[in-house]
């Protein structure tokens, strides 16, 4: 069953917490991965791979650069999840 927007944000929050140590409550739709959440380019690859596994979705490398905020990622996953 496809994840809801709420479930995706909660899942991304857990992933970002694990990788960057940011408290889950700080991971909000409008937050930028690099500017607000201490996720640098290498860690972003980790976030993407973890999200692919968790939400059963493929995120090609070319699309990753468009995922600036948690909202961008959530929308992408909502649209592409199997």
């Amino acid at each position: 069953m496809a994840a809801t927007q709420e479930e995706i944000v909660a899942g991304l929050a857990e992933i970002v917490n694990e990788i960057a140590g940011i408290p889950v409550e700080d991971v909000q739709l409008d937050k930028s991965f690099t500017d607000d959440l201490d996720v640098d380019s290498l860690s972003m690859v980790e976030v993407v791979v973890a999200a692919e596994e968790r939400f059963d979705v493929k995120i090609p490398d070319d699309d990753v650069k468009n995922l600036k905020t948690v909202g961008d990622a959530t929308e992408y996953i909502l649209k592409h999840q199997a």
């Binding site: 990788i19 960057a20 290498l42 860690s43 980790e46 791979v49 692919e52």
Partner: protein, 423 residues
Amino acid sequence: MSSTNRTVVVTGIGATTPLGGDAASTWEGLVAGRSGVKPLQQEWAAEQAVRIAATVAVEPTEVIPRPQARRLDRSAQFALVAAKEAWADAGFEGKAGEDPNVDPDRLGTVIASGIGGVTTLLDQYDVLKEKGVRRVSPHTVPMLMPNGPSANVGLAVGARAGVHTPVSACASGAEAIGYAIEMIRTGRADVVVAGGTEAAIHPLPIAAFGNMMAMSKNNDDPEGASRPYDVARDGFVLGEGAGVIVLESAEHAARRGARVYAEAVGQGVSADSHDIVQPEPEGRGISHALQNLLDRTDLDPAEIVHVNAHATSTPAGDIAELKALRKVFGDDVDHMAVSATKSMTGHLLGGAGGVESVATVLALYHRVAPPTINVENLDPEAEANADVVRGEARKLPVEGRIAALNDSFGFGGHNVVLAFRTV
């Protein structure tokens, strides 16, 4: 800055070792004659011929925040813990530049390891095989590169004069400190954070060293297994951890009113050109390094009262080193208290020169030579060539200027001798 013969001093020390999570607890363990060797409890250890090692007393992940720790190889974690302690111990606050007492353009780091990020390399290969290409960590390359510890310490302190990583197996840590002394002496830097680190307690290195017949198989008596100079010694015990010191030009240290532990007098370096792993049995290459040290510095053999020996507890190596001391120093060896601290810490490979430089500097500072433990029956060849401190720590002369050596030798025939002296 045109001076090319500046005096170099030690102003900060840090360590994380099998005896303690910092330099003070490590020193306390060394003086007390405590062994850091333990049985390996991991499942993989059951099938190994060697089932003992000197694991660190404090896991670095207890000290380094998790998001930072997970992108550092274990060897870089150790280096960072030891370097941060040394940096703070030297009296610096924050990075270079933030602390006005140190200019980032005049600050360097030289941190070495013998093997580099071997656990990262092997763990990520397991990930590749078991979970596929996509799951290999994007942090793998900066984690496994041997210069990773030096680079990460450089980032932590803000070093811009140069970040280096000499590699010479078990002489790497000493070579790093020697390189750092030269950086300051020749005017390239005013302050250098230098030392060695190693994290190689993993089934592959243990199987490989074990198959070389280089390691002790005394699994039934872990604390008694590392026994340099004892007739029953049967190889080294693998240790892990890091030792780091802050080196500084004497002038720079005086200007900021820093506490000085000791002078870093200099280094003597040579190569055996004998065999890829076997030590030259008469210590010819080691003698050459010791002579080189005397020729290149104003060190007087009469002032040397202590030697932190390389002595790993292998049958051939321990004696070759003592023969070299006798050959070069003659009767002066009789006033040198020789300590093999690997009897307590195990052999930290590329970390050894770092940890043992910390021990050597503290031996001078406190005027105490740590013991060599587990010497039940002293090898007659050791007795004939040197005065081994056995069982208990020994006081060094309480007055006057005294000096000490720290020997480190590595597979490949690398010989590095560092000299320190009270100020």
